[in-house]
Structures are given as structure tokens and as C-alpha cells.
């Protein structure tokens, strides 16, 4: 790896860490489970690494097979993760103002 690229990558890492800390510490405990499920789906972005491994030219068969398994598991995470997160968030979206009025 050439040093300039490495330094740029470290910058990206540090800034992402800082940004992540700022953004995620504002998430209320109410949404911690969907948060975990969502970040999990997002880190399923490793799918793009798996795609390259599974489909590139001149790679040995072993690499293709590893890539295939990785594509499968990360697709499960992406599809399942986003699907479940949405299902959970839909439940939090429901509000029942009429019920609250009775309570007060």
C-alpha cells in the first residue's frame, strides 16, 4: 500500500469514528435495538468486497467459493437487517393519541 493511500484511509477512519460518535450518542435508548439492527445492515456493505471476490476474472475457484459464501451471508444481513429494522420502526411509528387522551 502506498503511504499516501494509507494516510488517507486513516483520516477517513478517524473522521468516521468521530462522526459516528456524534451521531450515535444522540440515539435514544428507545431505539437501541433498531440501531443495532440498522448498523448491522449497513456494515453488510462488506457485500461489495464479497462481490469482487466471487466474480473477478482469473481468480482461483477457492476464492470464488469463499466469495460466494460471503455474498450469501452479507446479503442475508443486508436484506434481513433492513427488513427487520423497518418492521421494528413501523411499530414505533404507530401512535395512539386517542388512547393518551383517555390516560390524562
Amino acid at each position: 500500500m502506498n503511504p499516501a493511500v494509507l494516510i488517507a484511509s486513516v483520516y477517513v477512519f478517524a473522521l468516521a469514528a468521530f462522526l459516528g460518535y456524534q451521531v450515535i450518542s444522540r440515539v435514544p435508548p428507545l431505539l437501541h435495538t433498531p440501531l443495532m439492527s440498522a448498523t448491522n445492515a449497513i456494515s453488510g456493505i462488506s457485500l461489495i468486497g464479497s462481490l469482487v471476490l466471487a466474480g473477478s476474472a482469473h481468480y482461483p475457484l477457492g476464492a470464488h467459493i469463499l466469495g460466494f459464501v460471503a455474498v450469501t451471508t452479507s446479503t442475508i444481513n443486508v436484506v434481513g437487517g433492513f427488513g427487520l429494522t423497518d418492521r421494528m420502526l413501523k411499530m414505533f411509528g404507530k401512535r395512539k393519541p386517542d388512547q393518551k387522551a383517555v390516560a390524562k
Binding site: M1, V5, S9, F13, A17, L19, G20, V23, I24, R26, P29, L30, L31, H32, T33, P34, L35, M36, T39, N40, A41, I42, S43, G44, I45, S46, L47, I48, L51, V52, L53, A54, G55, S56, Y59, A63, L66, G67, F68, V69, A70, V71, T73, S74, T75, I76, N77, V79, G80, G81, F82, T85, R87, M88, L89, K94, R95, Q99, K100, V102
Partner: protein
């Protein structure tokens, strides 16, 4: 650079920005869903960009993987019940980490000879972290699902063995970084990392799962970020880091909510400690009849429900909401008190109650609700134990001393729904159950709650 490469890089940039925005949306339930759509769009763009921008020739494996993964993922998204969310999340950490580890091994097979030392160390980090998170998460998933016993598995000299395994793993990592040609060492590191993941999680009891889940979340994210370093791909670094930090923040919050350090959770083997009669039976547990309990609830002004893991195991979230609605229709004010580590993962109780249509505005965090307990007429504890144990506050010798609790013992009266007379998971005696204002209702939480609702209707 060709045009398609520019296109691919552009989609990565867009994806990164959308990911950050989507997490920002998570700061409020109203905006969270919209945020997730952004993340989905970002993901889609990145995938299309990759397929267009890289020189893909073999489509068979890709299409097969995408198809199988989508089917299984969709099946999970639709059919997994909310009560099984902790297991599902643990499993998805395992999948994510496995993907990172496999990509690492694949890179090793293809490019090992041309890697610099820096890339190799990122690769080693990725594979090591990915492998140990995979097995660790699978063990956690097994414990949560009940396939593996939830009690900590411990043996003499465990920490010494773990240390040995850890040192073997790290030394093979270092050796691999210096000697790229040592193929056997690389695979040794991979194998030992798988073993270390198992060793790391088996001694941890189910009650500590919220911390373990958060830590594994963090590792899985960092493994993805390391993949980004190996592939020199910024969107991987960004998404992985966001995931890693989210897990890290959650671990810190969970540890704080138990007043314990991460080292203590990982190496303490908490649940195994046999109660050393800290503050023993200062009285008798008083049982109450359903009708008396219903009477108390029906004529109360303020009722607070305190759910714990028992609510999840009994699947009683709908029953509690029905009882609450009944009470509200009689003019009783009903609130729910949620302890940060109630259940088996961060936010577990909130999701369950939301599933049962409880509006999130009636869910209260510990700091908000604690000052309200003295003016609460009846606090109903449903399958929670350690999070309401007053010993944590009053008895400095207690094993859970200093852990912040929901102060239900300050309420005018307390009704505890409990499966049996046994102790909680930690094996600690809970003096709350022996207080004069406390009465016990034994039985399955779901059945008890629906019987209570019927009894309230008769009042």
C-alpha cells in the same frame, strides 16, 4: 481511471453520505424510518456501482449468493418474532463477521504475494477479528436460543487457557505480518481465532448478554472497517467504523447500567457466583390473590409496569398492554419503566412493547421514572429481578452493589409477577420480595396478566 470506475466511486461517496444521514434519523422515532430508506438507497447504489465498475466476469456465484441470501434474509425479516430479536441479532453479527473473515482469506489466496506489510497487518486484523466474532456470536446466539445452557461454563484455569489461546493468536498474527510466505501460520491464526471466539463467550452468563451483544456488534463493524483498509475502499471503512463505534457506545452504556467494567463482564463469570447470603430473608414472601391484586390496580391512581426478561420469555407483551388499556379506561395513569439492561439486548423491552402497540410516549427511562415511584400507587414487576433489587443501592456488600436500579421499593405497593419462588438469574436474594408492601403473584406472566385483566373487569 475509466468512466465506470468514476461512476463506482461516486456511488460509494453517495452511499457513505446516506449512511450517516440514516443514523442521524435514528435520533427520533418519527424520522427513523425515513432514514432507513436512505440507507437502503445508499446500499443499492453501492452494489450497482460495484457490479458496473469492477471487472466481473463470473456471474454464477454472484447471482447464486444474492438469490440465496435475499431469500433467507427476507424470510428472517418477515418471520422472526420480536421476542427472538436478540438471537437474530447475534446471528447477524456472526454472518457479517464471517463475510469479513472470508473476504480476508480470499484476498490472502489471491494477493498475498503482492501485499505490503501494512496491508498484511490490516488483513490479519480483519481475519482474526472476523473469525473470533463469528464463533463468539454463534455461541451467544445458541445461549439466547436455549440450545446451549445460559449458565456460564467455567472450569479451573480458564483464564490461563484463554490467555494461552490469545497469545498464540496474537503471536501468529505478528509472525504473519513479518513473514508473508508463512501460509501455515496464517491458517493457524484463523483457526485459533475461531477457538478464541468460543472461549470468550462461553464463560459469560445470559444476564450479561446486552454487553456481549454490543461488543460483538463492535467487533463485527471493526472487521468490516479492516476489510476497507485491505481493499482500499472508503465506503467499507466508513460503514464499518460507524457500526464499530455504535457497538462500542452501546457496550459502554450497558456496562454503566450495570456498574461494571467490560473486563469484569468478560472475565468475571458473574452468573456463576453462588449467593453468599448477602442480606437474607428479612421476612416472608406474601402471596396475593388475583382478585385482591385486581382490586389494588383498579382503584389506584398511578400504576407503573416494570418489564424484565420474564415478559419476553412468557411472550406477555400483548397481555400487559390489554391490562394497561383496561386500567386506562378506568382513569388510571399507566406508565412503563424500562431499565437499560432489562432483557437480553439494548432496547429489547422497548421493541417488545412497541410490538404490542404500546405508544412510545408511555415508555420511561430509568432516570425519568425513578423520581415518580414515591407517588406511584402500584408498581407491577413482570419477570424482572436484579434490575429492581434494592440491595444494589443499600447493601455495599452485595455483588451488584452500585448498579443503578428502578426504585420500585419506594412505591406505595408492589406486585411481583414471578414464575416460581426461585432466585433470579444472578442467584441473588432480592429483599424487595420480602418487604411488607410487596406481594407476589406466582405463575406464567402471560396467563396471570390476562386473568388479572378479567378480574379488573369484574371489579
Amino acid at each position: 481511471m475509466t468512466l465506470t470506475t468514476y461512476f463506482m466511486e461516486a456511488t460509494y461517496l453517495i452511499a457513505s453520505i446516506l449512511f450517516v444521514f440514516s443514523l442521524k434519523g435514528m435520533s427520533h422515532p418519527e424520522t427513523a424510518r425515513r432514514g432507513m430508506f436512505m440507507a437502503e438507497a445508499g446500499m443499492f447504489a453501492a452494489i450497482v456501482g460495484t457490479l458496473v465498475g469492477t471487472h466481473i466476469v463470473t456471474w454464477v456465484w454472484i447471482i447464486a449468493g444474492l438469490a440465496i441470501g435475499s431469500i433467507l434474509g427476507a424470510w428472517m425479516a418477515i418471520w422472526v418474532p420480536m421476542t427472538a430479536m436478540p438471537q437474530r441479532t447475534a446471528l447477524s453479527h456472526a454472518f457479517g463477521a464471517l463475510a469479513a473473515a472470508l473476504v480476508g482469506v480470499g484476498e490472502f489466496i489471491v494477493h498475498a504475494s503482492e501485499m505490503s506489510a501494512v496491508t498484511r497487518s490490516a488483513l490479519g486484523f480483519e481475519v482474526m477479528l472476523g473469525a473470533l466474532t463469528t464463533t463468539g456470536s454463534l455461541i451467544a446466539c445458541g445461549k439466547l436460543q436455549g440450545i446451549i445452557h445460559g449458565k456460564p461454563i467455567q472450569f479451573r484455569g480458564q483464564n490461563a487457557v484463554n490467555l494461552l489461546v490469545f497469545l498464540t493468536m496474537v503471536s501468529s498474527f505478528v509472525y504473519f505480518c513479518i513473514h508473508p510466505e508463512a501460509v501455515a501460520v496464517f491458517y493457524t491464526m484463523l483457526g485459533v481465532a475461531f477457538v478464541f471466539g468460543i472461549m470468550l463467550v462461553i464463560p459469560i452468563g445470559s444476564a450479561d448478554m446486552p454487553v456481549v451483544m454490543s461488543l460483538l456488534n463492535s467487533y463485527a463493524g471493526l472487521a468490516s472497517a479492516a476489510t476497507g483498509f485491505v481493499l482500499q475502499n472508503n465506503v467499507l471503512i466508513i460503514a464499518g467504523t460507524l457500526d464499530g463505534f455504535s457497538g462500542f457506545i452501546l457496550s459502554v452504556l450497558m456496562c454503566k447500567a450495570m456498574n461494571r467494567s467490560i473486563t469484569n463482564v468478560l472475565f468475571g463469570g458473574f452468573g456463576a457466583v453462588v449467593a453468599e447470603a448477602t442480606s437474607n430473608a428479612g421476612g416472608v414472601m406474601r402471596e396475593i390473590s388475583l382478585d385482591d391484586a385486581a382490586m389494588q390496580l383498579a382503584f389506584a391512581n398511578r400504576v407503573v409496569f416494570v418489564p424484565g426478561y420474564g415478559l419476553a420469555t412468557a411472550q406477555a407483551q400483548h397481555a400487559v398492554r390489554e391490562l394497561a388499556e383496561l386500567l386506562e379506561s378506568r382513569g388510571v395513569s399507566v406508565k412503563y419503566a424500562i431499565h437499560p439492561v432489562a432483557g437480553r439486548m439494548p432496547g429489547h423491552m422497548n421493541v417488545l412493547l412497541a410490538e404490542a402497540n404500546v405508544p412510545y410516549s408511555s415508555l420511561y427511562e430509568m432516570e425519568q421514572i425513578n423520581p415518580e415511584f414515591p407517588s406511584t400507587d402500584v408498581a407491577v414487576v413482570i419477570g424482572a429481578n436484579d434490575v429492581v433489587n434494592p440491595d444494589a443501592r443499600d447493601n455495599p456488600k452485595s455483588l451488584i452493589a452500585g448498579m443503578p436500579i428502578l426504585e420500585v421499593d419506594r412505591a406505595k405497593s408492589v406486585i411481583v409477577l414471578k414464575r416460581g419462588q426461585g432466585r433470579g438469574f444472578s442467584g441473588l436474594e432480592n429483599p424487595l420480595f420480602f418487604k411488607s408492601c410487596t406481594s407476589m403473584l406466582y405463575g406464567d406472566a402471560k396467563a396471570t396478566l390476562s386473568h388479572l385483566a378479567q378480574a379488573v373487569q369484574r371489579v
